[in-house]
Symmetry: C2
Subunit: 207 residues, 2 copies
């Protein structure tokens, strides 16, 4: 890893822990193991370090859906829908756990989550990314999926968007409750399991 990469890496950790204003250039330099002045050979300002982090996260986010096995918002979702066609409670539980744990422990997502909470009101770009990733995209993805499943008779016909919000909102709430409490993931998961079970009971067409 180059020095430049190590700077963004350490800076992301510090910004997500102490906030942008709460992190000094010296803090970052110390973490990297160089003097603060040396840092300016790699970035022309503290703000530029922050901007490069935003780039880094954007790039990481683009791979997300692929790594999670989720199609992009604007790509076709037929194959995923086929996957869910014989959806069991165990399938749905495993999927929700996978997504939840990923959000909570992925090194980029989890740091971005905290950073975004702190900086969203200061930084329009962060605000936009945070809302897009954790709200709009998450909901519209689930909506499309559930809409398809309703059409295929896997879920009872109804309001797909309302169902999507009912599925995602508890995950979002639990993320808020357990972000930064990685030692209590098991507790979070047991609550999540109960919500998924309830969701399955409500929406899944009985076999």
């Amino acid at each position: 890893m180059t020095t430049k990469e190590r700077i963004t890496e350490e800076a992301l950790t510090l910004f997500s822990t102490k906030g942008y204003k709460g992190t000094s250039v010296k803090n970052i330099a110390d973490a990297v193991g160089i003097k603060d002045a040396s840092l300016y050979k790699h970035f022309k300002s503290k703000q530029e370090i922050f901007d490069s982090i935003v780039e880094l996260i954007s790039a990481h986010i683009s791979d997300l859906s692929v790594r999670l096995g989720m199609p992009q918002y604007d790509s076709s979702y037929e194959s995923a829908s086929d996957f869910y066609k014989n959806l069991s409670l165990e399938d749905l539980t495993a999927l929700s756990r996978k997504v939840f744990v990923f959000y909570l422990t992925d090194p980029y997502i989890s740091r971005f989550w905290k950073l975004a909470h702190m900086e969203q009101y200061q930084n329009p770009q962060i605000y936009e990314m945070f809302h897009r990733i954790f709200m709009e995209n998450a909901i519209s993805y689930q909506t499309k999926l559930f809409d398809e499943m309703m059409k295929q008779g896997v879920f009872y016909a109804g309001d797909a968007r309302a169902a999507a919000i009912n599925f995602y909102a508890p995950i979002f709430l639990l993320l808020n409750m357990y972000a930064g409490q990685e030692d209590q993931v098991e507790e979070a998961l047991s609550i999540l399991d109960r919500q998924v079970e309830e969701f399955y009971r409500i929406y899944r067409v009985k076999l």
Copy 2:
């Protein structure tokens, strides 16, 4: 309003907009209309201003349940339950709207919401208050209420806590989506109405 009160008032607005570190003592003094040095006749430090704001919000929060017509976590809830006994969809919609709009527009709650998002990871006291008010208390209140309603046959018998989370999580998600977007409250309310309708359809025993 005394000068001291005006300082906390303006400081709360500034802290909830620009964050603690992003707000200077001069910013606060300017907002109040005095010189920054004069401010130290009322508070011995910037931190003390912040602490007095925490006090102010704590005091305000204590009145919340009363003002919303909601019993405290540890007080009796029988009368509220009686109120819901003949619960119609319109009743539930009106209640959820009232709670949601209150959270979003109450001058103390709405500023605390943003402040807490920014400062929760720096300040254990803020973290604790935020999680208690917007997560633990909100969920446990709804759980007690729904548990009682299930016992009385108003709701189908089942997992009251899961139902409570299904009711509250969408409200929490919408608060996150629309905090600081007071011009779009109508859009938020229409989404909320759909969720409440769905909730009512699922849990309310058919008459």
